[in-house]
């Protein structure tokens, strides 16, 4: 999975951070023992810009690391500047941490890497990323890191966008800290300076003489120790104290380091950067205003979701046009027969039907990235915090939920930042209810086809509203279920809420375009692999077994196609499940669509594409939308797809957990099959019930 660069406070931790248990560590494949290679690690406050630096160093276009599920790989990549002639470096990006007394899993993970508590992970140099806007606190953290590590360290002062740290200030800091310092603006992307700094600076004085800022040994509270993972047999370089004694010692240590950092800064006449501070405060007065704040919040998110609808429509029509034309062209140049059917009905109707949603996916992620980079996301978290707390969730649950709008998987992983296990389980079990981007194709297809488009109240669009409603419904359901869980099985206090409010900043278009391209690419990859493969399976099952020719004599072309489809394996399966889905207003074709969507939600669209193409003898390809509109129910003879049926399907998709990857990640994050099975079960019941109710109300 690719790294994200955002300005929000969630786990910036690479999504592929694996909270392993010592047991699983046997599977790690890290190998940094080769002598020619040096490993660097990036540590610092959350949102200090570590991941931006990581991407700069390892190359934005390079796929950093896969989410493989077993290996403990914390976002590692080789430097782009490695050549045969120079030393080879690898850099590992770790989740941010506030102090050396971890308060959640992701912080614990970073500390266990920093202190080398995992036998198969080692490093030679630490790059401490200091945030120029939060100089005192991040320098305090830097001092505490320098106090505990024996390795060489480098300090990068990031966000020095207006180049305020001059040579004199830099020298002063280097003298005090005893380590090389580089002022940097990672977002400007000056790779050569950074690279030169990493390769050619050496620690000026030995650790013994200068790098010793406080006398205190590293002390952890019992609670903090519970977030740390270490291999058996590793000597722990810290002491653990329980109760008040531990708390006093830890507080004293953080306090001392912060005071020391302030002393240095005052002596150097270094001030924290005030860039954007005034502007941020002005925006905050509005964005966090008791009344306007709420209005802005709703407007921002309405615009976000409606833009997917309105802006993407022309792009989507264009892509659909190309796919259809290409399918026609290839279809005409092929002889009648199975091969033609395979290519036109299987591949073009199946995969092509999904690919046309590429513009929507890219626009969604482009806009999300702009929003995340601007710093608004933390304000949004604050606005909804009151609502979250009504439902028994702490503020830390907001960011995992928000990631869930893209995909449940990174969201479930982001929930590692929630320290309280009960709250964390309540969060990850309800996260799949958040409308993820895989539901988009289904929503757009059905809303676009069956909800008439008209203006509401002069400025809102009915289709965009329907769309917004579906998102709202999923989110509401997630919160309500979370509340139920928090009142019953996962009862308990919710975690505290103190959240950093990063300053507003102008989002970078380049980063947003890049994020959008990454998501677009992985969407196409999914279409080219899983969806292609399963589309072929769907085509096979809807084409075979063939119907004997005697049965087809005397029938029109359309009747032949329809009968052949009904007699196919998929037709039989569909008919067998009809009694179950009839109450929901669905026929067997839709039933088959639902069935295959349990593999991946987009498959509903590709299955519909293939089924309607196979069962239709019409040579002139129509878009799937027209085919759906003109389909007739075999039993009643009325149009099959009514508004009621469309909404019934939509409800199924709002509530159903049709995603095998989500089940796998739930299992991994909770350590057993219990959580995924319960989640799947309750969501299935919800989905079926909601579909039934929607159909009954509307028909």
């Amino acid at each position: 999975m690719d790294k994200e660069v955002t300005n929000s406070q969630a786990t910036k931790g690479p999504p592929n951070v694996h909270t392993s248990t010592p047991r699983e560590n046997a599977n790690t494949s890290d190998d940094s023992t080769s002598h020619s290679k040096e490993r660097l690690i990036l540590v610092g406050l959350p949102n200090a810009g570590k991941s931006t630096i990581f991407n700069l160093l390892t190359g934005g276009h390079r796929k950093v690391s896969n989410y493989s599920g077993i290996t403990v790989d914390v976002g590692t990549g080789p430097l782009v500047t490695n050549t045969d002639d120079n030393k080879s470096y690898e850099v590992t990006d770790l989740p941010g941490l506030y102090n050396l007394n971890p308060s959640s899993f992701d912080e614990g993970l970073t500390l266990s890497y920093l202190l080398k508590l995992k036998k198969n992970f080692t490093y030679q140099k630490v790059i401490i990323v200091v945030d120029w806007q939060r100089l005192a606190s991040s320098l305090g953290l830097a001092l505490s890191i320098l106090d505990v590590i024996k390795e060489d360290a480098l300090i990068v002062i990031n966000k020095d966008d207006s180049h305020e740290v001059d040579a004199q200030k830099r020298t002063l800091l280097e003298e005090q800290l005893g380590v090389p310092v580089l002022p940097l603006s990672a977002i400007e992307g000056d790779l050569s300076t950074l690279d030169h700094f990493i390769r050619h600076s050496t620690t000026k004085e030995s650790k013994e003489t200068n790098r010793h800022f406080t006398e205190a040994p590293l002390v952890l509270t019992t609670m903090a120790n519970s977030f740390i993972q270490y291999d058996l047999g590793v000597k722990l370089p810290y002491e653990v104290y329980a109760g008040e004694e531990g708390e006093k010692k830890v507080a004293a240590s953080i306090n001392d380091h912060l005071k020391k950092a302030r002393q240095f800064l005052n002596k150097d006449k270094l001030r924290e950067n005030e860039k954007n501070a005034e502007m941020s405060e002005k925006i905050d007065r509005l964005a966090l205003h008791p009344l306007f704040g709420g209005i802005i919040f709703i407007a921002v998110f309405y615009l976000l979701f409606s833009s997917i609808y309105t802006w993407a429509a022309p792009a989507m029509d264009f892509t659909e046009g190309i796919v259809l034309a290409l399918g026609d062209f290839i279809g005409q140049s092929l002889p009648e027969g199975l091969l033609k059917s395979l290519i036109v009905d299987g591949i073009f109707a199946g995969v092509g039907g999904v690919v046309i949603f590429l513009p929507q996916i890219m626009i969604l992620f482009f806009l999300m990235s702009l929003l995340e980079q601007s710093g608004y996301i933390s304000r949004a978290a604050l606005i909804v915090d009151r609502i979250m707390s009504w439902f028994g969730l702490g503020g830390k649950a907001f960011l995992p939920y928000l990631s869930g709008y893209a995909c449940a998987i990174p969201g479930i992983m982001a929930a590692r930042t929630i320290p309280n296990p009960k709250e964390r389980y309540a969060t990850i079990m309800t996260l799949p209810l958040i409308t993820c981007s895989a539901r988009l194709p289904v929503y757009i297809l059905l809303v676009g086809t069956f909800v008439p488009s008209y203006e509401v109240a002069g400025l809102l669009n009915s289709q965009a509203l329907a769309f917004f409603f579906l998102y709202f419904l999923g989110s509401l359901a997630a919160l309500v279920i979370a509340k139920v869980l928090r009142l019953s099985y996962f009862k308990g206090e919710s975690s505290q809420f103190i959240m950093d409010l990063p300053r507003f900043q102008r989002p970078s278009l380049r980063v947003a375009l890049y994020q959008s391209w990454l998501k677009g690419r992985s969407f196409l990859k999914k279409a080219g692999t899983i969806i292609l493969g399963l589309s072929l399976v769907i085509w096979l099952l809807s084409t075979f077994p063939r119907t004997s020719p005697e049965k087809l004599t005397g029938l029109s072309e359309n009747q032949v196609a329809a009968l052949e489809l009904e007699n196919s394996a998929l037709g039989r399966i569909g008919h067998a499940m009809e009694p179950v889905i009839r109450p929901l207003g669905m026929d067997w074709k839709i039933g088959v669509g639902l069935l295959v969507s349990f593999g991946a939600r987009e498959l509903f669209v590709s299955a519909m594409g293939t089924l309607y193409a196979v069962g239709d003898a019409d040579e002139n390809s129509k878009g799937l939308k027209e085919k759906l509109k003109s389909d007739v129910d075999e039993v009643t003879g009325k149009p099959l797809f009514s508004m009621a049926t469309a909404w019934s399907i939509l409800m199924f998709f709002v509530f159903g957990l049709q995603c095998t990857s989500t089940l796998a990640i739930l299992k991994k994050e909770s350590g057993s099959w219990k959580i995924p099975l319960i989640s799947f079960g309750y969501m299935f019941v919800l989905a079926y019930t909601a579909s039934f109710i929607a159909y009954k109300i509307l028909s």
């Binding site: 102090n99 001030r271 905050d284 709420g294 933390s378 915090d385 959240m499």
Partner: protein
């Protein structure tokens, strides 16, 4: 430095009682250790000046600015555990105080 700013100490209260736009000085943090660690790690020490930017509707979190313009938000329940001392600024010296706020005490 900061001591030159004319200010009138009025009374002790807790952070949750502050209104939007008000400034105060931190006296001490709570007994709650996790909260204590977090505030220290955000760069706050007793004696620091803070300013309330806003209070979210319906008793939502309170957002606070400190240092050179960094902010954080905290739920009222936790804000209750933070003792502050009111500061009343002499209007004429407002600009001077702005001048100093980038320094650390």
């Amino acid at each position: 430095m900061i001591t030159t700013i004319s200010k009138v100490e009025t009374m002790k209260k807790t952070l949750d009682q502050m209104k939007a736009g008000e400034r105060a000085r931190l006296i001490q943090f709570s007994e709650n250790s996790a909260l204590h660690f977090k505030l220290l790690s955000l760069g706050l020490l007793p004696g620091d000046e803070i300013k309330v930017i806003s209070r979210a509707p319906f008793g939502g979190p309170i957002s606070v600015r400190h240092g050179s313009g960094n902010g954080f938000a905290i739920r009222l329940k936790e804000a209750k555990c933070i003792e502050v001392k009111d500061m009343e600024f002499n209007k004429n010296q407002q600009s001077e105080s702005d001048h100093h706020k980038g320094n650390f005490q």
